[in-house]
Structures are given as C-alpha cells and as structure tokens.
Subunit: 438 residues, 2 copies
C-alpha cells in the first residue's frame, strides 16, 4: 500500500508520553479472583508540534505499555487527523492481532486494540481542540445531553484498597463509607445498592456475579428486586463461569426479574444454546469482543447486546462502526467497564451521547475509585447519569500534580499487570482461577 | 427521544436551496431502455448564518426534490456538525423508508436516503470549510492520493444527447468524438473502449450489458479481452435481466476473462444460486442496496462486492459504516455510478480515498457527460484516476453561471424523472421494459 506522506498542512505529532499510574481500588470479588489494592491505568499524552496535547486512558499492563512506547515512535511526524493512515501503520508494524490473546479473564489482554484506542482517543482530543468542538461532534454529534450509567455492585470483603492518601475530596459519609464495608450476602448487597443509588442516583443495577455458588447470587438478585421493585432494571454478570445447564437454571429463576443476563457461559456456541432456552436478552463482553468475532456471532445469534469497550474495540470511531453493525443486525450496544478514571469516563460519555440507539445504562466502575487524574477532581453523577463534557476535545484536562502522585503509586505498588488470582490467594490460599466453576 | 436543542456555539443552517438541472446525456442503452437527451441532477446548497455554503449533487427526480424541499425546512437553525441529530429528525418526519420503493430499475427511487445523502454531503462540505480540511479528513483521512475509476462502456445508437450548447471546453477530437459514435457490435465496443482508455487512461473496463441477447455481450467481452489482454480487468453488468440458467452459462463462458460479474440476476436468492455455481466474484448495486438488505445478504452470501453509492446509502459517513460491515464480513466495497457531474465525483473521490480496502476501480459515467457545474470546468482524469481535491470541504465550488444555464435546460427539457423506457420507445415503438428478459 502506498500511504500518502505529506499532503495536508496543520500540526504534526511531535511526542507521545506514556505514564503508568496506580489508583486505589477496593477488594472487589469476581470470577477471576480479587481486585488488588491498586488498579493500573496508563495515561497517554499525544503532543503536536504546536503544543496541543491530546490525552487518553487505557487499562495498565506492562506488555501493552511497552508496545505502546514503540507505537508512539511510529506516529511521530504524523497528522493527528489521519487516523485511517495511523491505523494502517500500526497494523502493518504490529502484524495481525492474535485474537486468542484476549484471554479467559474478564479483562482484555490484546495489544493492538489498546494501542490504537489510546492513540485514537488522544488524536480526537487534539482534533476537538484544534476545531474547538467536543469529541462527540467528531462522532456525528450529540443525541443526548446526559449518558446514563448503572450501579455496579460487587461482593467484597472488608477494606477499601490501597492507601487513601489522595482522596482528600472524599469524606467518610455516604458511598465512600459503604465502599469500605463488607458485602458477602444478599442483604449486605442490598445495602450496597441502596448506598450507591443514593449517592449517584443510578436507575439500573448490575451485580458482578461468578463469585459465590449460583443460588447465593440468585438470592441477591431476588433481594434486590424485592427492595427496588420492577422499575429498576437489574442485571447479573458471572463472567462466563457457569456451565450451560446452570446458566439455563439461573436464567429460569431470574426470568421477569432481569433486563439481561451478561456472559452466563463461555463461548459463542454455548451462549447461543442458552439463548435458545431462555426468553431473556443475553449480553456479552467476553464471547464477542472483536470485529473478527462478529460473523460467527451473527450466524449463531450468540447475544442480543454487545457491551462494547472503546479500549478493546480500537477506539471511539471503531465503536461507532460497531454500533452501525449492531443496528444493521438488530442487536443492541451498551458499554463494559473496568476500574477507571475520568479520562476514560469522558470518552465513554462522548461515545454514549453519539450512539444512535442506547436502551441500556452503561457499566462503570467509577464509583469504586476515589482517585482522579483530571483537573477539577471527580466527575459528578446526577440521577445516575453524566453530562457530556462541553469540550473542546474530551473536555477534561490532566492534573499534572495528581498524575505525578499516581505514577509514584505505580512505582511503589510493584504491580505491572492485573492479576486477580494472586490477590485472591492472599485471603484464600488454595483458591485457583477456573474458567468454568459451577 | 429527547433531542438536545441548543448546546454548541458555531454557525447554524439558515437556508437550503434546491436547484434541479438537466445535463446533456448521450443515448446510452441499458436493460431499462435508453438514456434521454438530458440526465437530471439536483444541486443542493446548504447555507449557514455566517454565509458558508456547502454543496452536494444527487440524481434528479421531482418526487425526491419535493421531499427535499420539506426536509430543508426541518433543518433550518440546526448546527451542521449535528448529523446524527439531523438524521433522526429526518427519519422521524419521513417515517421508515419503504424499501420496495427502490424499484426494479438500475437507478434507486427511495427518498430518505437521497435526502439524507444530499444534506450530509453539503454539511460535510461546510464542516470542512469551517475547519479548513478536505472532506476525506472527516472520514478518517486519506489512504491514497488518487482514486482509480473504470472505463464504462455502453452500447449506443448514433448521437450525443441534448444540444451541446455548454460544451465549449470540449473539442471534436478524441473521446468527445467517439462519444457520438454508434456502438452496437463487439468491434464498435472495442473502438469505444480504445478511445475512452486513450483519453482517460483507464486500467479497468466495465460493459453495461443487458441490452442485447447474451451471446452478443459475451462476444463483446471476448473481443475486449482479445484487445486489452489479461492485465486489464473486465466486468459486465446486465442489471439483473438474465435468468439464473443464462447467468450461469454466461459466467462459465467468461470465466477467467472477468474480474467480477455484476448483478447477473435479480434478488439475493438468485444471486446466491449463481454464486454457488460460478467461481467468479459477484458484485451488486441492485440486490443489496440498503442496510436493511445486509442481514439476508450475509446469510445467503448473495455477493462478494457491494457497489455502494453514497447517494443511495445515505451519505459518506454511512458509506464508511458500510465499508466497516464489508470488512467485518470479508466482502469488498466498490462504487456504483449514474450520470453525474463534478460535485458527485468529488464526493466519490473523497470517500474512495478514505476506504480502508479498495481492490476495484470505481464506476463512473463522468466521461459520458460534457457539462459541468463547478468552477474550473471538468475534473481531470490521469491514468484512469482522479486526484483527491485538496479542500477545504469537497474542494469544488459551484459555477453559478453554469448552474443557471443547466437549470434553464431543466425547465426547457420537460423531463421530471428518469424514464429510459419511454425514451427507448422513441426509437423502438414496441419496446417494453422487462425485469428479466433472457
């Protein structure tokens, strides 16, 4: 392919800065184990030769960061508008992504999609700043002023994660207190939900399941339904840890109670079997996680809702293309989340505001975090939703003091990748990750 | 849906001007009859309150123009960046498009896709002018500096169409002369191809078939192959007029000679049958012509190449989404054309330059036209390709004098829609359109 080299004027990328950070994370239980006291994120700054800085945030992982360092060098001198070209260059240099690298964990371990997402979002931030428009306007413009999110409940032992040295803007009342409380049975989960909905105003509730034997989690869902009634949509996500028979049984018990069942089983084939047996929409962020997975998803009808994640799908424009595919094939699109800060949240909100159809509140771990890396501190939720930042660009700016402190956290904490199994073994020595457990 | 009303600053649309024009068109034969002496186009100007004008061009049709007048009123006061919102407003007001309105003819008669295409392209032209970037940069940026087109051969009786009063920039040598010549047998078609390739430098050749009995058209293809050899890719498009058995027979005779067979039969089911029997890629702009057609196309594998047309697929951004669908499902994308001028050509070139994969030269009727409505006159082809206009916006501007003359043509010629059957009956009284003939 002959890539045109010099054909437009305008600023060029002169530098890409990658800063790994560690943010305080509570001990949240999930099918893969336990969240460590710190979650890792990587902050990416793309700087043009006229000193416009675009920023982005992706999950932190040393292997991805190293690849990202190499990728950054490849785009020096490029025009940030030329995202098609930048994508081709990265694809050419990194080769075809091995989709098996997605891994069995709830988080995604592929390199190229993360690299391209981080560079694309930062470039869109730059473009927005150049043209004085919010990122949502680079995605066709805003269809809603606020984007709704769901409460995200986690079973958890006592504790609040790493040292809370930077959480000076959080007092000990309301959610931050509840955030430290033990939550291992249905009634404690109801209390967690009440506290979270009170502080953030969420109108939908998701339970991260796959932690206890299925009956405990069903009882939790029934308790939530009893407490919140039929007007609060509920969902449960066991991260594919159930057998097909278990998933069908759980689905039957939760019929009429939940708006969708997320990743009850592993693999598109198994999802399709469960789907045929249940009259409940299925959602996924584990069995259909790339464009390469789409043809088989359509063939099998493995899910009704794809929970996109712009960090895993190669950016915001790719996510809009995924939305077009979903619309074309009668599927819904909503969003997946990992522990994250305000840069990722802002990107999710810009994307969420541009999606032509948005029937489900998005996932976010944001309430579980207390750190922030953007100026002005933590982004506010009202009535469970976040207002689209008014821009230009993402509409959020790096707080360099916070970035420095959170990078120091990274260096001190010694973590280089997410490993929930090792963390779980600290409280339960014999615990082993199992792809399918019940 | 609550559409946000006022949330960004920047110019608003204050006026939409719709000007029907008639352009000289030669008597080109096709499965639906004969081109009239004038082809109809509609020029759309969208003007902002700070007097930035965006332009676009769509096929001319009085019913579409009337709907477009109504659509224009609905977008007064809107921000041209808010294309998602504009699309929702138009969809809401015009209701769900009846896909059967596509019709049996080679041209598309649906309203909403044309309306949205015309407004979207004009808004992208405005946006490009505001941010001082070519339209291709609003589609992710340029992957190639020039976009290749194919020679488009037509059987034709003698004559050059309507009065050539505006063709002052064309002399009587080369293609303009050949353009008037009779071409009804294989050797005349070879001469037409030689003249066209000589003047425009085309490297691929397409024959508009469906005019004569299939053996004549096969003989034409064989004569072209003999003349141009294996390095010039050939294609034939009978606009779905063949029976399945005929298509298979023709395909077998042309195996090894053509790069693809375009719309040999009608309907996705029949296309899929032909595909199973032939080892030749199939292309379409007649059986899969909307996003609504895609799921069944994927299910049946009715074609390998979708010949998009941004006028029929709702604009340039929609076409990029179609490209993403094609890439996801391992299909190719190329482009269809009708008789058109330089505004449509510029839009096609911007889109063609942004497409991630472009294996086939695009269709264009442009060499058959001699009028132009843009400043600077006719767009130049070199080596069969057109350079991407450097912008801002589409990079072409209306020639108001030419627009006035071509609008006068429209008023004088008395045509209000394309009707190749009526035109054909002027030279062959008993001729009737048949959806399937051989």
């Amino acid at each position: 392919m002959n890539i045109p080299i010099e054909y437009t004027t305008g600023p060029r990328i002169k530098e890409v800065i990658i800063t790994p950070i560690a943010i305080v994370d509570p001990p949240l239980l999930n099918a893969a184990g336990l969240h460590a006291p710190y979650a890792l994120r990587t902050i990416v700054e793309v700087i043009t030769d006229d000193n416009i800085t675009g920023i982005s945030e992706i999950p932190g992982n040393i292997a991805i960061n190293e690849a990202l360092e190499a990728a950054g060098k490849l785009i020096i001198g490029k025009d940030p508008f030329q995202l098609n070209q930048i994508k081709k260059i990265l694809e050419k240099n990194f080769g075809k992504e091995d989709m098996s690298k997605r891994g069995l964990t709830p988080w995604d371990q592929r390199k190229l999609v993360h690299i391209f997402s981080s560079i694309e979002v930062a470039c869109l931030d730059i473009i927005g700043k150049i043209i004085n428009r919010p990122v949502v306007d680079l995605l066709g413009g805003k269809l809603r002023d606020r984007v709704p999110f769901a409460a995200y409940l986690f079973y958890k032992p006592e504790g609040a994660g790493g040292e809370l040295e930077f959480n000076t803007d959080r007092n000990a009342t309301g959610w931050p207190k509840a955030r430290q409380e033990t939550a291992t049975d249905p009634q404690q989960m109801v209390q967690q939900a009440i506290a979270m909905c009170k502080e953030f105003g969420f109108k939908s509730i998701k339970l991260k399941g796959g932690v206890y034997e299925p009956q405990v989690e069903v009882d939790t869902m029934l308790a939530l339904h009893k407490e919140f009634g039929p007007d609060v949509p509920l969902r449960i996500d066991p991260n594919g840890i159930w057998e097909v028979g278990t998933a069908i049984k759980v689905g039957q018990m939760l019929h009429g109670i939940i708006e969708y069942l997320e990743d009850p089983v592993r693999g598109q084939e198994n999802m399709a079997i469960v789907k045929r047996e249940l009259n409940i929409p299925l959602a996924t962020n584990m069995c259909t996680t790339s464009f390469e997975d789409i043809p088989n998803s359509i063939k099998l009808h493995s899910e009704d809702i794809i929970l996109s994640d712009h960090h895993f799908w190669g950016g915001l424009q790719s996510s809009m293309k995924l939305a077009a595919i979903c619309e074309t094939f009668g599927r819904d699109l909503s969003m997946h989340s990992n522990s994250h800060l305000g840069i990722s949240l802002a990107a999710m909100v810009h994307l969420g505001a541009a999606l032509p159809n948005l029937r489900y509140a998005l996932d976010t771990h944001y309430p579980w975090q207390s750190d922030e890396v953007i100026m002005g501190g933590r982004i506010k939720f009202e009535d469970g939703s976040v207002e689209v930042p008014k821009g230009p660009g993402l509409g959020v700016e790096l707080d360099r003091n916070a970035l420095g402190l959170l990078h120091k956290n990274y260096l001190h904490c010694g973590l280089t990748k997410r490993d929930d199994e090792t963390e779980m073994q600290k409280i339960e020595k014999e615990w082993k990750f199992q792809a399918v457990r019940w």
